[in-house]
Amino acid sequence: MNKSIILLKNLLLSTSQFNIFRYTTDKKKKGNVIGNTIGMTILFIMLMVYCIAQCIGYGKLGIIDATPVLCALLVSAIAFVFTFLKTNGYLFNFKEYDMLISLPFDVKTVAACKFLYMYIKSLPWYMSISVAMLIGYSVYAGFSLPVAILWILLSLCLPLIPMVLASFLGFIIAKIGSYFKKTNIVQTILTFILIIAAFMSRFVIESVFKNGQVRDALEQTKAATEDAAAVYLPAGWFAKAINELSVTAALFLIVVSILLFAVVFAIVGRYYRSLNSALKSHAASGEYTMGAQKKSSVVNAIAFKEFKRMTGSTVYLTNAGVGEILVCLLGILSLVIGFDRLVSTITQNAPFDPAILRPAIPFIVYFCLGMISTCACSPSLEGKNYWIVQSLPITRKTLYQGKMLFNMYLTVPFMVFATVCIGISAKAALPDLLLYLILGFVLCAFSTTWGCVCGIRHMRLDWENEVEVVKQGAAVGIYLLINMVFTMLSCVGSVLLGMRMDHRILTGIFIAVVSILAGLFYKITMKLAK
C-alpha cells in the first residue's frame, strides 16, 4: 500500500469517534461518543437549515443565480479562516511529530498527509453548506442532475485553494516565528496582525466596490457578489461551471486546486523538518535566581494557571484573544470615526437612524467578546494533565470557579474599554453608560457560565491535538451556536423593543434576564462539578 495512504488512513483512524465507540469498554466513553455525535449532527442540521433558508431568501428576492457564487465564497471564506487558525497544531508543531518523523516516511509525505487529513476532517462542514445551498438552489432554479453532479464534485475542490493558501500563510508565520527565541509570541502577534488586516480589509474592499449610489439592497448584494467573484477567481469558475455547465471552468477549478496544492506542499515539505525542529525546541537560559514568592488564593492560582496555559499556546491564544482584539478595534474605531458612521459602515448604509441601535451597544460589544469562552474548552484542555488537578486537595467546584474567574478577568476589562469608547462616541448619558456596563458585565458572566456548562458536559480529555478541543470540540461548537442565536435575538430584541419603550427600563430588563440566565448556568456548573 502507498505510504501516503497508510499514513492518511492511520491519521483518520486515530481520531475516529467510531473507532473509540467500537473498541472502548468504558460505558462513559461510549456515552460521550454518542453525545458528541448527536451534538455534531444537530449542528450540521442547523447549519444546513440556515443555508437552505438563505437560498430561499435569494429565491424570493429573485437572485437565485447568485447562489453558486455565494456558496463558493462562503465555503472559501470559512475554509480559509478555519484552516489559518488551525495550521499551527495540525500541520506544524503537533504532538506525534517525533513518532511520525522517525518512521520511514518522506518529510513531504508527512506534511501533505497532515494537510489532507485536515481537509478530510473539515470536509463534512463544507459539504453540508454546499449541499444545503444546492438543495435551496434546486428549489428555485429547478433540479438538474448534471448541475447536481457538477456542484457536488466541484464542492470537493472548493475548499482546497483557500485551505492551501491559509496553510501557506500559516507556514510563513511559523517560519518567521521560528527565527525568534519567543517563537510563540511572535507567531501569535503575526496571526493577530493578519486577523486585524482581514477585518479592516473588509471595510476597504467594501468602500472600493461600493460606488455610494447603489441603494437597492438587491442590486448591491448581486453587485458585491459579482465583484468578489471577479477578485476571487475560483468562485467565478465554480459559478460559471454551474450556471453555464462550463466544463472548461470546472476543469480550471480542479487543475488549479491540485497544482496549487502540489506547488505549495513542495515548498512546505522542503522546510518542514527544520521548521518543526525550531518550533518544538525551546531555549533555556538556566539562569534563574530565587526571589520573593507571592501567595495567592486557590481560585486565583487556578486562574493564573489558565492564563499561562493560554499564553503558552498560539492556537489557544489566537482563538481566545480574537474577540478581545476585535472589540478593542471596534471601540477605537467608534471614537475615531464616530458611532453613527461606524453603524452606517457595518450596516452598509442601511436606511435607518443609528440612534435606534443604542440599546444594542452592550450586545454589539458582546457579539465580539462572547464569540469564544475559554471555559468551553479549558476543562478538555486539561487533557493528560488532568491528574494534576485531580490529585490536588481542591474540589472540582473550586477548579471550575478558577476557570470561570479567568474568563471574567479576560473579558471584563475589554468589555469596559469597548463599552466606554462606544458609549462616549454614541454620546450616551452617564446613567445609560453605567447600565450598559452592568449589562456588559452580566453578559460576560453569561458567556462564562454557559461556556463552563458546555465545557463540562462535553469534556474530552483524550485528544491528540489541542486544536480538536479548542476549535472543533462539541463543547465549543454548541457554545458558539447557542451563544450566536442568543446574541442575535438579544440584538434584534433590544432594537425592536427600544423603539417602543424607555431605553433604561429595557436595559434593566435585559440585565435582570441575563443575570438570571448566568445564575442558572452557574448553578448547573456547580451541580455538574459535584
Binding site: I6, S14, N19, I101, L103, A278, A283, E464
Partner: protein
C-alpha cells in the same frame, strides 16, 4: 553502524545543547549514553533518528547520512522515545499493524513477531483494547514491540526501562542481548547506572552537551564501578 561526528546543536540561546559530540556505535554494540538531566542526551538521540534538524556535524547510519538520505537511515532504525506519544484512539493491534504497514512487513512475519513479543511482554490480551486504556508501562511495552517488529539494524532508545515492571525489564535486556548477537547495534540513554554497567559493552558520558568520557566499559571504569566513574567525571 552509527557514526556521530562533531555534532553540535543550540536552541537559539548562547548555550549549546550538544557541543561537538563524536561517538561511534558498531554492529553488535550495546552502547550506553549517560548524563544528568538536561545534559544533551535527548538532543543527540533526536538528531540521530532524524527528528531534530541540525547544521553542524554529520550523523551516519549504516553508511547513510541522516541529513541527506533520511529515508535510508529510518528504514533500518527503530526509535523509542522516553515518553512515547502513541495514537491513543487506536487499539494496540491497530497501532502495531500501522507500524508493520509502514515498514512493509508481510502478514506472516508481522503475525509471528507480534505474537512472539506480545507474549514476551504479556500484553497479548490487551492488544484489542484502545491504547488510551493502557497504563504507562503497557504503552512502553507496545512502543518496544513496535520497534522490534521490523528487526532493525540500529535501535535507539531513550530511557527504555522507565515504567517497565521487573519482568519486562529482564525481558527487554534479554532481547537486547539476542539482537546484539544477531548484529544489531543498540544505542540507549539511561539514568540507571547499574543497568548500564551490566548491559553495555561501551559507554559515553555527556555533560553540558560535551562528551567528557567514552569507550569500552573496561577502559572507562578501570576497575571501579560505573557509578563512581560517572560521579568522578561529573565532578571534574
Amino acid at each position: 553502524m552509527l557514526k556521530i561526528n562533531n555534532y553540535s546543536k543550540s536552541y537559539g540561546g548562547d548555550k549549546k545543547a550538544a557541543d561537538n559530540v563524536t561517538l561511534h556505535v558498531e554492529s553488535g554494540d550495546i552502547y550506553g549514553f549517560i548524563g544528568h538531566n538536561g545534559a544533551g542526551k535527548s538532543t543527540t538521540i533526536r538528531a540521530v533518528v532524524g527528528v531534530l534538524d541540525f547544521t553542524e556535524g554529520e550523523i551516519l547510519i549504516d553508511g547513510h547520512s541522516v541529513k541527506d538520505e533520511p529515508m535510508e537511515c529510518k528504514k533500518v532504525t527503530a526509535y523509542i522515545p522516553d515518553n512515547p506519544d502513541l495514537y491513543e484512539n487506536l487499539t494496540g493491534i491497530q497501532y502495531l499493524n500501522f507500524i508493520a504497514d509502514v515498514f512493509d512487513i508481510s502478514e506472516h512475519d508481522r503475525k509471528e513477531r507480534i505474537a512472539k513479543y506480545a507474549g514476551t511482554f504479556e500484553i497479548t490480551d490487551s492488544l484489542g483494547d484502545l491504547i488510551s486504556s493502557y497504563s504507562h508501562g503497557m504503552k512502553q511495552k507496545l512502543a518496544i514491540i513496535s520497534a522490534l517488529i521490523h528487526e532493525p539494524k540500529l535501535m535507539v532508545l531513550d530511557e527504555p526501562f522507565v515504567g517497565l515492571d521487573p519482568k519486562a525489564t529482564f525481558a527487554l535486556k534479554e532481547i537486547m542481548h539476542e539482537m546484539c548477537a544477531k548484529g544489531t547495534a543498540i544505542f540507549f540513554s539511561t539514568h540507571v547506572l547499574d543497568v548500564a554497567e551490566k548491559l553495555c559493552n561501551k559507554v559515553a558520558i555527556i555533560k553540558k552537551g560535551k562528551i567528557i568520557a567514552s569507550g569500552t566499559m573496561e577502559e572507562l571504569t578501570e576497575g571501579h564501578s560505573l557509578e563512581e566513574t560517572f560521579l568522578e567525571a561529573e565532578n571534574e
